[in-house]
Symmetry: C2
Subunit: 256 residues, 2 copies
């Protein structure tokens, strides 16, 4: 199920990438909305290069110096972290248009590992160059703030999932999230290939691989999805959606 690299262009380190942000189908996700053409070209000038990653290759690992922000151009990656006790967990999956590497801006060293789940291509922006931004490109810096706080929001949703949902709900939420993300990239929302293993899914959802497998089978039996290996068809997104929230107590206790 390892998708072949879509582009096989390679660049020398430091070389200006071919056809820049303006021609990239993902620029509407990497760059702030409403950035004019002239400024887009200027941002592009800050970009160091693209980088090709083979499936399984690390873009960076926890502890590496953090001096670059990345944008996924093609492919799919996962982030995973390890705590001081040796517990390890997948914290997210990144696809085209997602920005990466902001976890260590403060620390100057990365907090987590970033590895390609299939052959991928990323654009690199050295953080040092952010300081070169002229005042009129303040938008860019502000945009990075936005993306970072978006991370926080996304992590909070993940925390709720990990804390409150049952296995069934977790997998349903996961599939629907993927579906939405594929749709946002212009792909089919009802049929797609999983780039990650059951083990990765389990780690991300906080359940064991056997449970992931059982839930897939159960969904298939209930005709909610059709799944064969890593190929998934969403057959009934409405009922899938309805699964989420089922374990809520009827008399909901508010924590506030």
């Amino acid at each position: 199920m390892r998708a072949p690299t879509q582009h096989s262009i390679t660049y020398m380190a430091g070389a200006r990438p071919h056809g820049g942000c303006l021609t990239c189908k993902m620029h509407f996700r990497c760059l702030p909305r409403g950035l004019n053409e002239r400024d887009t070209v200027r941002v592009e000038g800050l970009l160091q290069t693209r980088r090709q990653l083979k499936c399984g290759e690390y873009l960076y690992q926890a502890g590496d110096r953090c001096d670059t922000i990345y944008a996924v151009k093609t492919g799919c990656l996962k982030t995973h972290v390890c705590d001081e006790h040796g517990y390890e967990q997948v914290t997210g999956f990144q696809m085209a248009g997602d920005l990466l590497g902001m976890d260590g801006i403060g620390l100057r060293a990365h907090d987590f590992n970033l590895v390609a789940l299939e052959d991928s291509e990323v654009c690199a922006l050295p953080t040092a160059r952010l300081d070169e931004l002229p005042p009129e490109l303040e938008t860019i810096r502000r945009y990075l703030h936005e993306v970072m706080s978006g991370y926080i929001v996304r992590d909070h949703n993940a925390m709720i999932m990990l804390s409150k949902m049952r296995a069934e709900e977790r997998l349903a939420a996961f599939l629907l999230d993927l579906s939405r993300r594929f749709a946002a990239l212009g792909y089919s929302s009802s049929e797609f290939n999983l780039r990650m293993s059951r083990e990765d899914i389990g780690s991300y959802l906080g359940i064991k691989i056997e449970t992931v497998s059982r839930m897939f089978s159960q969904f298939q039996e209930r005709k909610l999805i059709d799944v064969k290996n890593r190929h998934v068809c969403i057959l009934d997104s409405v009922r899938l959606q309805r699964i989420i929230g089922r374990s809520l107590p009827s008399k909901q206790r508010r924590v506030g």
Copy 2:
């Protein structure tokens, strides 16, 4: 167990706070390390005012406009979020020196709710004023980046806890974290009052209130802690520490 407000000064909105950051015992946590006296005063000039919060009072709620960053001066608060399905969860507890309100910088609206667990006092910095910062105070803006990425790291640790630890480990990790934080503030690391209810703890740890209670009792029986209502003594932090990591499989599967 509701601690009385330590200072009962009140300020009119917009008034310059009494004795500013320089005299505040927490400035070493709110402000970047190594900020000189002159610059500290300049930052102080950006501060709008302090704000008093009664126990149970909200500083802001999800959806509120996000235009201010806060620093906790005294007291304790909790953040809690609600997802689209109605699930709700406490995502963290904030004490003196912690910075708050950065969750919504990108969104211009807050993602979560912030409520005082005891009478508290916070300093407010309108985000609009951040743009007034002269270039030589770039440190400040960078510091906010750091704090934000610190949030991400902290959330990831919380995710590992929610995903991989058993109830016993969660409570142990929680108590040790509190202990460390109190120590960092100059208070006793072995004896402190919990500001939050069992319900809050359970929500934060992703376990039910009954389980929290059982674990407290169990720890007490094993002479790891001494607990009476919300007063906690850590009797054996070494063994408490050793609880964490117990449920790791001996042959550790690496996700990478």
